[in-house]
Amino acid sequence: MFDVAVIGAGVVGGLVARALVKNGMRVVILEKESDVALGATRANSAIVHAGYDAKEGSLKAKLNVRGSEMMESVCAELGVKYKRCGSMVVGFSEEDRETLAALLKRGESNGVRGLKLLSGEEARKIEKNLGDGVSCALHAPTGAIVCPYELCMAAVGNAIDNGAELRLEFKVDKIERANGGFIIGAADKSVSARYVVNCAGLYSDEVARLAGDDGFTVRARRGEYILLDKECGDHVGSTIFRCPSKMGKGVLVTPTVDGNLLIGPTAEDIDDKTDLSTTAAGQARVRALASEQVKGINFGKTITNFTGLRAGGSTGDFIINVTEDGFVNAAGIESPGLSASPAIAEYVCELLSGVGAPLKEREDFVPTRRPMHYFKELTQEEKNEIIKEHPEYARVICRCELVTEGEIIEAIRTEPRPVTVDGIKRRTRATMGRCQGGFCTPYIVEILSRERGIDYLDVTKSGGKSFLNISRTKEKLWKNNENANNSLHNKAKTVKNADGGNA
């Protein structure tokens, strides 16, 4: 029996698992997907909010400010890129100025340091590309940016390195109380654990219901984004928010830790928790709104657009609570969830201690992890030392982001280990550059196939049936297959027949 089962391997689940392992717990992380960081963590604004936004006294406010304080050191330990670039909320009217003044007051009462109201002119001295209509701004020097999936992968990886177990494709469909603990089932599999932490993001209401708690619901809120080439990464130096108004919260324009420019999100409540599609209207809205607050954005340099789903809880605040027998909800973790995530982990530990879990900091816990991108940071001499031993570190696979075969192999061998092309992408940035995998995809498929012992045809883009190729060329069955639409489903069979000998 495990001490704790953490359901959901997003950024919250990852940091919770790590904090529990650090405190001596035997932890299993249960994830329904084929990789970690595939829910709300995969696609969001990648912002560490300063903490002026959340209502005084709310969990959001408390955990945001605390999380934002912890984030830099957590990232340093885990080797995750973090940049305190500051943020600015810009306004266009006298009414906006009043809103910003209220935000300033709220921020100060939340304990946010360094907040300052600026005139349009003062703001433009810091950010020269602010829109001409910008007349006032709230500057928050403690605002920062981080890569959410990198943080999640590093947290899960560090937890695993310290003894946690990760079960992928484990879609929890049953939670039973037995023998003073819980049995958590997924189809024909199950694990038992003394305590359970529900970090299931969009699905945390469904998981809570399995455990008998129907006190809240979680709704998907679609946010569409546009990502621009690194050429545009310095168009703004800090995160530019728009002053919230009757028209809504607006979008943000921000540099990312990897040097791109990220713009979005829209906010649209939808019923389908799996709908990751972008829409023409949403994309147009992002472009129009962003262009008001920041001028001269070159949308011609768009490299991709995507949608993220936030897990909006029905209470308006984070839903973090514990039952007496040790079932913890860490649910409704919408914005500022990423910012708060290290503090949420800390808070979950407190809650579990409160119901008797014997948490005690381990002496042998190794809090650090080698940065995923360490090779890039080495000097030429250091790189050459490694290349001498391992020539694959000089074989460039992804030309746009300069990712070598050595780095890809290393990512495949590092926990949590990827099995998909997108998994490689999130770990190494291969395929994430301007050509979007147009050149390197076949090579990554080859390396994955070789390193993980998967048939070339079975390599997927992102798990499930997202196969990249569906048969060999010149395949007998291929030509004879009458029912074209079944080709994907027949794939496995087709491969088998190919082995049976045709030229």
């Binding site: 599609s277 994309q283 768009t302 790189k383 000089a394 147009g438 995809t441 045809l457």
Partner: protein
């Protein structure tokens, strides 16, 4: 391990442009040439172009891509020209040094007297097109699908829609059909194809593949693997027409929506660029704004025929050789003729002329035009007029300027325009 290599002429890229430039430089008398190639053999993109149609101009016969490349590679080897494979150039500097990395040498520097840029181009990816919908597997650039099919022996799908009628898309429509796939349509946003007329005939019409002009893909469907696309007609402003949507069931969408010269090195070196071509601004010798750095092939501007790439590479290779042999003689200021175009002619290569010699100017037009004349003017004087029954953006055109006219223009302009007959 030697970490600095010295050479007279360094050539970045061992595709058709790089190889032809190297051969020309050797023929011009340079003994010391080094080709740096990132792939595991010479030949560049031609290696995966197994279809015919190459070499009609250069060799007077029809070759496949690999055959065309093999002829150049044989010549490179025969001449004893040095090349390094699996070698990626990561930095280009104005002092004509490059930083490169390879498994054999690690990260090292090449110091050259002259450099020829021949890095080729890449395809415009889906993200740049901003199509809405999901992001499933099954969406590939046409060249990527070509690599899977022709180099790896795998089929990326069997129910195919192609967006964009660039040449690679047309070639892949035929290729996928020959491999047993069903190509439902080739959609082209513009009212004309960007590909060669011969490819429309041989790759689409011969196989009854519909070409939907003024159509585009407006939505992508399917969560894990592509399940279908929505295709819409577009109006004259290229905006989708409401009500014209058609759902086409497919598992594969191939994109052939333009090629982008791979100029990251060029830009980071600070070389002046042409916004229209995406390549460097060059003179008649294909010399860039940096003295001693030359460019040719698709890295300079996208060509439709490899034969023209080879032609251009000979000019660049020969000039690089001359520059290296003369110890870096500066281009003279006596002649500096700018070629200026009207809107109908999108760009020219070369952009500027420094030598009074007979010069072929390559250009592309911005739309399909019928029965026009190409006119070159020096001041008010017409120095050249050439009638063409049809001009299209997909087909590169040429005019020849005479040494005499260039000498007369001195430091002025020659204006090139498309006019009524």
């Amino acid at each position: 391990m030697e970490n600095v290599i010295k050479t007279s002429v360094a050539i970045i890229g061992g595709g058709p442009a790089g190889m032809a430039a190297a051969i020309a430089a050797r023929e011009a008398g340079v003994s010391d040439i080094l080709i740096l190639e990132r792939d595991d053999s010479l030949g560049g993109i031609l290696r995966q172009c197994i279809h015919g149609g190459f070499g009609l101009h250069t060799f007077g016969e029809e070759l496949t891509g690999p055959e065309y490349a093999a002829r150049y590679e044989a010549r490179v080897r025969e001449m004893g020209i040095d090349f390094m494979l699996n070698t990626m150039v990561i930095e280009l500097h104005k002092d004509k040094t490059v930083t490169a990395m390879s498994s054999e040498r690690g990260i090292f520097t090449v110091k050259a007297d002259a450099i020829v840029l021949a890095m080729g181009c890449r395809e415009r990816p889906k993200g740049a097109l901003g199509i809405s919908g999901t992001r499933p597997a099954g969406i590939y650039t046409a060249g990527l699908a070509q690599k899977f099919v022709n180099m790896k022996g795998y089929m990326p799908g069997r129910e195919v829609v192609i967006l964009g009628s660039g040449d690679i898309g047309l070639i892949m429509a035929r290729r996928m059909t020959l491999e047993g796939a069903k190509v439902h349509a080739v959609c082209e946003l513009m009212p004309y194809s960007g590909g060669l007329a011969r490819n429309i005939e041989q790759c689409l019409n011969d196989y009854n593949i519909p070409l939907k002009l003024s159509h585009t893909v407006t939505a992508i469907h399917g969560k894990e693997r592509l399940e279908g696309v929505t295709v819409s007609a577009v109006d004259e402003n290229r905006r989708p027409i409401a009500g014209s949507e058609e759902y086409i069931k497919c598992d594969t969408l191939l994109l052939s929506c333009g090629l982008i010269p791979e100029n990251e090195l060029t830009v980071s070196c600070g070389i002046d660029m042409d916004r229209v071509t995406g390549g460097a601004i060059v003179d008649g010798d294909r010399q860039t704004s940096e003295e001693g750095i030359f460019a040719c092939g698709n890295v300079l501007h996208v060509h439709d025929l490899v034969d023209y790439v080879s032609e251009e590479a000979v000019i660049a290779g020969r000039a690089a050789a001359e520059y290296a042999l003369q110890g870096g003689v500066a281009k003279g200021d006596l002649i500096k003729v700018k070629i200026v175009t009207d809107g109908k002619i999108r760009y020219t290569v070369p952009h500027i002329l420094h030598k009074a010699e007979d010069t072929t100017v390559y250009f592309r037009v911005s739309d399909v035009f019928r029965d026009k004349k190409i006119v070159a003017r020096l001041g008010d004087r017409v120095i050249l007029s050439k009638r063409k029954l049809k001009l299209a953006p997909g087909e590169m055109e040429t005019v020849k300027l005479s040494a005499k006219d260039i000498a007369e223009a001195k430091v002025g302009e020659i204006r090139l325009s498309l006019e009524e007959v």
